[in-house]
Amino acid sequence: MNDQATASARLPLAKALNAGLRQAMRDDPKVLLMGEDIGPLGGVFRVTEGLHAEFGDKRVFDTPLAEAGIVGTAIGLAMRGYRPVCEIQFDGFVFPAFNQITTQLARQRTRHEGGVTMPVVIRIPYGGHIGSIEHHQESPEAYFAHTPGLRVVSPSNPHDAYWMLQEAIASDDPVIFFEPKSRYWPKGDVNFEEAGAPLHASRVVRPGADVTVVGHGAMVSVLLQAAEIAAGEGIDMEVIDLRSLSPIDYDPLLRSVTKTGRLVVAQEASGFVSVGSEIAATVTERAFYSLEAPVLRVSGFDTPFPPASVETHFLPSPDRVLEAVDRALAY
């Protein structure tokens, strides 16, 4: 299935994405990469580095600086039978494409009564922790998870990045692919032979007995850090990597909550009308009699993402997660 020289490697997430793109392009000549600065430069985060040289102008092309144009022309290319993978340079720059994504991309299949498929992937580096300027650190997942017709996923580690990106490209539905840019450079093991879990599966990444915590993308490493600290205090946290934000795979979550009776949902996004709100409501509906405490949310505040010098006060930290864990355990 892949022609990596080795069965596994230790790679940064950004390089794993690069390997995933390369593999997808080798597997299917209809896969195209398009976006701003993704050609000879390799993208501002270098995720597409080397791909222009390998696949050429017709399959890896720089677009004019216009995001609605990127997504709108990708829709036309998909109608023509291509599988475009669009890069949006930063989270905050997806909004000029919002109309094309929500009123067009997400609905073409419905509007055509199944006669048209939209195998389009929109890659969006998202989230904080990188000390950058306005519109470069945001977590806009909820807008897209709220939109019928889209699939929304977010890998937390290099292995998942490699596999989930290829699965997203192979999907006949549009996939919004949120990449945790603060996790682009730490390395992790990538097994090139076995995916391990399907695209929309959530996964227990650290088993525990006392309280369940769930998050996606960069938040997973925060949750794992919190679990380490808690373990030192005798609290056994079960950590779940959500992986898919729409649809959400609730079974591992409900099994976990049935066991622990307590759930804390963590996210960088503002909490009001968020993916975390949805999880809290659904778990309460489905596991009410298993819950020993209300489902608690740890989120970014309901403010614009602040200046970077105070971002650590805005973003949920291991300590903020543990504060909520303590509250959940106090019931």
């Binding site: 036309g76 998909a78 023509r80």
Partner: protein
């Protein structure tokens, strides 16, 4: 009206004068040879299609007034721009309409009752483009389709099915939009992308002078066709009520697009004689004098005069009138029998792959509605 910058000038291509006579002019000369491709039957078809869709348009508006359609979008007044450009396309071309190009669809093989299905609220689309002359679905968010058209044309380039030198197979795209949509950012992005990639594509802008109640003078301080130069794209302003100008200029632009000469832009000066939709009341925002001045330039009357001058018989016009009446009556009859879909349509086409939330909700609705059987509804 202060619409002078949007009125015809010496550079506007007009082959047929408002009095219905063919005339030479500096602007028109390069396009006149394209009329050599047409024979008498083509001319009669142009007239027939314009007359039929005019009559259909009236019937559809009546159906809306009688509660049989949610909305109707009239094309009255714009028939020449649409018919001429539609006949300039070849079978392999792709057409991305806005939502008022009914006769373009008809010429490409669409059953206009399919348009009524959408406006009757039984479907969000209504037809399969590949089975109807590559006439794509209407797009209601203005200008969104301009980018789809450009992307589709990029796909033709990647496929190598254009600019091979074979006019029988080389493909092109034509996209329709209007003076109002020309202000949308996406219409401008489409022009940027088309120019950047030199797509095989024609932008066909029908300037019907009104975006619902807002005149084109509020959209633009410059004639719209002049904007194309800023994108590095050749453009032509035509008398959009002259079916021959619309045909000839569209034919040249599409030929160039198929031949690899890049995109082109056509502004067709025309007029929306009717309301924007049946939800609109144009007497609130425009004058009787303005309307009368455009009714006097009616595209069908003009072409009829021309054909009469060419010796068309009264019998021909009588036959077309009868055919148009039959067409409208048939559309009415069939429109009244359009039935709504079952509730599966809510769920079945949202995703290509499995989706647990949608499947659960579909099953829930079935159980919920079944729970009323034999009880209250």
């Amino acid at each position: 009206m202060a619409a002078t910058q949007n009125d015809a000038s010496g550079s506007t291509v007009q082959l047929l004068s408002p009095e219905g006579t063919l005339q030479a002019s500096a602007a028109a000369d390069e396009f006149l040879p394209f009329l050599d491709r047409l024979d008498d039957d083509d001319y009669r078809r142009f007239y027939r299609d314009m007359a039929v869709v005019r009559r259909f348009d009236i019937e559809a508006a009546n159906l809306q007034r009688q509660g049989q359609l949610a909305l109707w979008v009239p094309s009255h007044g714009q028939e020449a721009a649409q018919v001429g450009s539609a006949y300039a396309t070849r079978p392999q071309d792709h057409i991305f309409p806005s939502y008022r190009e009914h006769v373009v669809g008809m010429i490409r093989g669409l059953d206009l009752v399919d348009v009524l299905r959408m406006l009757r609220g039984v479907t969000l689309g209504g037809w399969v483009p590949e089975e109807h002359g590559n006439f794509h679905l209407y797009t209601l968010v203005l200008a969104s389709q301009t980018l789809h058209a450009t992307g589709y044309a990029m796909g033709m380039q990647l496929d190598g099915t254009t600019a091979t030198g074979d006019p029988d197979t080389d493909e092109a795209v034509i996209v329709y939009y209007g003076d109002g949509a020309s202000s949308e950012g996406e219409a401008n992005e489409a022009l940027v992308y088309a120019a950047s990639y030199q797509t095989p594509q024609v932008f066909f802008l029908q300037n019907n002078h009104w975006a619902i109640s807002v005149p084109v003078t509020r959209q633009s301080r410059t004639p719209l066709y002049l904007r194309a130069a800023g994108f590095g794209m050749p453009s032509t302003q035509i008398d959009g009520n002259d079916v021959l100008a619309s045909y000839a200029v569209s034919a040249k632009s599409l030929d160039d697009a198929r031949a690899g000469k890049g995109p082109a832009f056509i502004e067709a000066l025309t007029y929306r004689v009717g309301a924007h939709t049946t939800a609109d009341d144009p007497t609130k925002y425009r004058t009787d004098d303005e309307l009368a001045s455009w009714v006097a330039r009616d595209p069908i009357v003009r072409f009829r005069t021309y054909l009469q001058g060419q010796g068309a018989s009264q019998q021909f016009f009588d036959d077309v009138e009868a055919e148009a009446a039959d067409f409208a009556a048939d559309a009415r009859r069939r429109a009244l029998t359009i039935e709504g879909p079952d509730t599966d349509v809510i769920f079945d086409h949202v995703y290509a792959g499995p989706h647990p939330r949608i499947e659960e909700q579909k099953a829930w609705l079935e159980r919920y509605e079944a729970s009323f059987e034999g009880g209250h509804a």
